[in-house]
Assembly symmetry: C2
Homo-oligomer: 139 residues x 2
Amino acid sequence: MPEHDGKILLCRRAIEPRRGYWTIPAGFMENGETTQDAARRESIEEAMAEVEVGSLLAVVHVLHADQVHVMFRARLAYPEFGAGPESLEVMLCDEADIPWEDIAFRSVDFALRRYLEDRRRGVEQHHFTTIDFRKPPGG
Amino acid sequence: MPEHDGKILLCRRAIEPRRGYWTIPAGFMENGETTQDAARRESIEEAMAEVEVGSLLAVVHVLHADQVHVMFRARLAYPEFGAGPESLEVMLCDEADIPWEDIAFRSVDFALRRYLEDRRRGVEQHHFTTIDFRKPPGG
């Protein structure tokens, strides 16, 4: 969740799934890196942004995808960014302008909402949740 | 980190790696479960113990093994436990009796120490760390 001057860095996805929808820089970990390393690397790759990774924000179990999404607070090291090859565009977005209807993934929506709530309250907590789109047995 | 009455549940490993050394119930996640589900399942499998999973304790990046260890505080639902097939023995252990020389993994040592420190201070924080036994380039 990279932030600068109260605004949040969002990327519009240039690739499937969810091409054209907005997300925060994120992706699969590589071997030999930490979760924070991966967050830093994805911010560079997707938003051409160097970030300082902060506290743990969210852990989202995405059961239908067999994934665990780990999100951190972060700050832009300096206010420079741009669209990497996997992004159509990148913006620093005021809370009032967040395109809630066009957020790419449920886990990003969850993390954004918890981030903003915590910021309003002046706290930095972490939040667990589970998302499960698997069909019920026989369904 | 299952606890009962101030004592910590430790398992002596019946399998390699580190057979004969002490650990807390832990293991690989399965598809379709959360990190907390996995902790509960491993407590049943390795220590025949039903636990209530609590707050996040530690996230350990084990770079040489390409693993992320996620540890939680937990309480025994009731004081019953025993050695599952992957354990030689299971004990509820006072802090003073922890076999520090015979702890199976560095990540478990880390989580145990943070757990005890936090407990002394009356807090429940979470702790990130990285362990890296990879050889240096050319080493």
